[in-house]
C-alpha cells in the first residue's frame, strides 16, 4: 500500500489538493474564499489529468526537427486546456454573481446571507 502511494505520489498530491479545496468550500464563510477553494479543486483535477499523460523520459508532444520519441500523451493536455478555459468562465460568472450579491445585500458572508432570508 505504502509503496503504491509512493509510486503514484503525483496522483496522491492531486487528491490532497482536492481535499484542501473541498475543506475551504465547506469551512470558509466568505463567498470569495469559497470560490478560491473551488479553483483549487479544479487545479487538483487538472494536475491529476495532466499527470496521467506523463511518460517516463517522454518528450513534449511537439514534432519537428530533432524531435525523438517517446512523447507524452497530447490528449490530456488538450482536454485540460479546454477545462482551464471553462474554469475561467465559471470563475468569471461566479465573481459577477458575487458582485451582484454584494450590491443587493451588502455582504458576501454566507451566514449573514442566510440570516437575511
Amino acid at each position: 500500500m505504502l509503496e503504491a502511494v509512493w509510486t503514484n505520489v503525483d496522483y496522491v498530491a492531486s487528491v490532497v489538493l482536492f481535499c484542501i479545496g473541498l475543506y475551504i468550500i465547506i469551512a470558509k464563510n466568505n463567498l470569495i474564499k469559497k470560490l478560491l477553494g473551488l479553483n483549487i479543486m479544479e487545479t487538483a483535477v487538472f494536475s491529476f489529468i495532466v499527470a496521467l499523460g506523463v511518460l517516463d523520459g517522454g518528450e513534449p508532444p511537439i514534432m519537428g526537427e530533432g524531435a525523438t520519441g517517446p512523447y507524452s500523451s497530447p490528449i490530456p493536455q488538450a482536454l485540460v486546456l479546454t477545462g482551464i478555459v471553462v474554469a475561467v468562465s465559471t470563475t468569471a460568472l461566479a465573481l459577477g454573481l458575487i458582485i451582484r450579491i454584494y450590491r443587493q445585500c451588502g455582504t458576501i458572508e454566507a451566514d449573514e446571507l442566510r440570516e437575511m432570508e
Binding site: D10, Y11, C19, P61, T82, V85, S89
Partner: protein
C-alpha cells in the same frame, strides 16, 4: 463540533480517492491505457493528419475541433452572463450613512478617477514591460502550432496585459484599445474565426471544420493560424470586457 464533522467528511472523501489513485498503473509507465489507445495513433500520424507540429494544437483544433468550438462558445456565454448579471442591477450610489473613512476615500476617488494611485515602481515596470509582453503574445499566438503556445494562452497573456495597463494607467487611457465599434466583433472573434475556418474547410473537403492537411498543407496552416489569431484576440477582448465591467463599482 463543526470542525470535527468537516474533518470526518474530508477523511471519508479522501479514502476512496486514495484507494482508487493507488490502484492506477504506475505513474509514467509506457503501457498505461493512456498511451496505448488513441493517443498512440495521434503521436504516430498526428503531424501529417492534423497539419500541426504541436500535437496538442492538432488535437485541439483538428481532431477535436468541435469540442473547441463548444469551449469558445462557453467563454462567450460567460461574457454574456456576466454582462447580464451586472448590467441589470447597476451599482447603487453609496447611502449617506456610510460616511467617515469610506466616504472620504470615495471622495478622493471621484476627484481623480483617470489616474489611479499606484506605486511608481509598479507603474514603471508595467510601462517598461508592456511592449515586450505584447511581442511575446504575438509570438505565442502565431507560433502556437509549431511550438508550445496557441490562441488561448496568447489570449490570456494579452488579457492580462490589458488588465495590468488598466490598473496602472486608468480606464480612460486603455479603453481606446477596445474601440466602441470594433469591440463587439473582437469579442466574437473566436467564434467567427472558427465558423469561417469551418466553412472554408467545408468548401475544400466537404466536411465542416475539415482540414485538407494531407493534400494542401499551406491552406491547413493558414486555417489553423486564422483560428489561433481569432481565439487570441477574442479571448483577450472577453477578459478585458469582463474586467472593465467588474471594475465599475
Amino acid at each position: 463540533m463543526k470542525n470535527a464533522f468537516v474533518t470526518a467528511l474530508l477523511v471519508l472523501m479522501a479514502i476512496p480517492l486514495l484507494i482508487g489513485v493507488t490502484a492506477l498503473p504506475p505513474h509514467g509507465s509506457a503501457d498505461a491505457p493512456m498511451h496505448t489507445h488513441v493517443s498512440a495513433r495521434y503521436v504516430e500520424r498526428g503531424e501529417e493528419e492534423a497539419g500541426a507540429a504541436n500535437l496538442v494544437t492538432g488535437v485541439l483544433l483538428n481532431y477535436r475541433s468541435l469540442d473547441t468550438v463548444g469551449e469558445v462558445t462557453v467563454i462567450f456565454t460567460a461574457l454574456v452572463a456576466v454582462l447580464g448579471v451586472l448590467i441589470s442591477f447597476p451599482a447603487a450610489p453609496k447611502p449617506p450613512d456610510a460616511a467617515g473613512a469610506a466616504g472620504t476615500a470615495r471622495a478622493t476617488d471621484h476627484a481623480a478617477p483617470t489616474q489611479p494611485q499606484v506605486s511608481p515602481v509598479v507603474g514603471f515596470v508595467v510601462r517598461l514591460l508592456a511592449p515586450f509582453i505584447a511581442l511575446f503574445t504575438i509570438y505565442v499566438i502565431v507560433h502556437g502550432h509549431v511550438s508550445p503556445g496557441g490562441g488561448f494562452q496568447g489570449g490570456a497573456i494579452l488579457g492580462g496585459l490589458f488588465i495590468a495597463l488598466t490598473t496602472v494607467l486608468g480606464e480612460n487611457r486603455t479603453r481606446c484599445l477596445l474601440p466602441r465599434r470594433g469591440a463587439p466583433w473582437m469579442r466574437g472573434a473566436a467564434l467567427l474565426a472558427f465558423v469561417a475556418a469551418g466553412v472554408i474547410g467545408a468548401v475544400l473537403t466537404g466536411y465542416f471544420l475539415g482540414y485538407p492537411a494531407e493534400t494542401n498543407h499551406l491552406a491547413t496552416e493558414l486555417m489553423l493560424l486564422g483560428i489561433e489569431i481569432g481565439i487570441g484576440l477574442g479571448g483577450a477582448a472577453i477578459f478585458a470586457t469582463i474586467f472593465l465591467q467588474m471594475e465599475e463599482e
